[in-house]
Symmetry: C2
Subunit: 204 residues, 2 copies
Amino acid sequence: MARPRNRDYGELRRELIDTAGRLLAAEGPSALSTRRVAQRAGVSTTAVYKLFGDKAGLVREMFLAGFERLAEAFEAVPRTGDPLADLAALGRAYRANALSNPHLYELMFGRPVPEFEPDEEVADLIRPTYDALVEAVARCVEAGVFAPAEPEDVALRLNGLTHGLCSLELRAALGSAEEASRHWDDAFDTMLRGLAVHRADSDR
Amino acid sequence: MARPRNRDYGELRRELIDTAGRLLAAEGPSALSTRRVAQRAGVSTTAVYKLFGDKAGLVREMFLAGFERLAEAFEAVPRTGDPLADLAALGRAYRANALSNPHLYELMFGRPVPEFEPDEEVADLIRPTYDALVEAVARCVEAGVFAPAEPEDVALRLNGLTHGLCSLELRAALGSAEEASRHWDDAFDTMLRGLAVHRADSDR
DNA sequence: CGATGTTTTGTAACGACGTTACGGTACTAT
DNA sequence: ATAGTACCGTAACGTCGTTACAAAACATCG
């Protein structure tokens, strides 16, 4: 004697997340309000709270959607016989993803929305994406392209550099697109040269 | 027939900026409201608007105060005969400044307050601090410690890495303080080795 | 089919925010 | 003393996140 069956909310969920993403991209973080998202999707604000609990819940889903996109971009990177080239391709994929979803990137790796802070569960969902990087580094070490080192440590260094460059580029601190590409290439060259096995080490 | 003399507002300005900084550090970006800042300083919200125009004006001053602190930290780094050591010391000063003023750092290099975006004038005030880095790099190149390169380009690479590492550490992604220090040292070692003149280049 | 009880949802409200209009207060120059 | 201007606090407007409440929708049971 009740109404136990919930309707399928998957569609509305996706629609709201999508709407929120477009709103964020179009008008920036200050436009991302539950009211406006609901209004754009043609539902009441209550619906948002029913589905996501609060604004942080909505932002959390956007956050996860962003990581899904990044994971897809990583999976699209082929695994060739050249581990160094694969690693560089991962870096390019990371950069391209950041540039084509700047606001989502800020959401994922900046701190623009004070309502939401990633928790333990979210961290677990993110880890596999990071592991792809670690694994690419491990292949470089195994192939003898890199000097022996802990892949996790090297991945962290590369991640630091990559995130820093993304951050600078999104702030337009890398100049034009061509200049930026040059900076990326140079920075990666430098870092990879530092990681490589070089004769000087064995000479001393 | 008037009241032309303006009182000296310097004190109240500093007090408000300071109060806002402490509020930001204590309770995060969401607590940074003109109302609360004014209340803490014991004045009316109108005073804030009188002195800073709007909230963005206040945030702008906080932003500049943060850069002043960073500039002071940079100036405290001595200029020894070892340009490489000086460069590393600059990196450590940057890191220490970020860690001791995390919210201010977010304000300066993240994007937590959507109300304020640095303009041209602010960029000019910041440049000298960045130039200190460029100059330190130039000394390394001149001394023959680094392979010949444009100091601006190399500085950008180092800035990218440094900012990326700060960003990761502020997100607690670098582990304990000791682990983080090790990561910093390793990352800088790697990058600096990549920038150094090494025998392998001339051997080929 | 209709009654029932739960789920869903829109309306309206609360408190806090940024911002500003307004009116009173304080003070200087005459 | 008075007039006129700078200053400042109060209160308001619109918007925000969030929630209480009541109406509506609907699956189950008689």
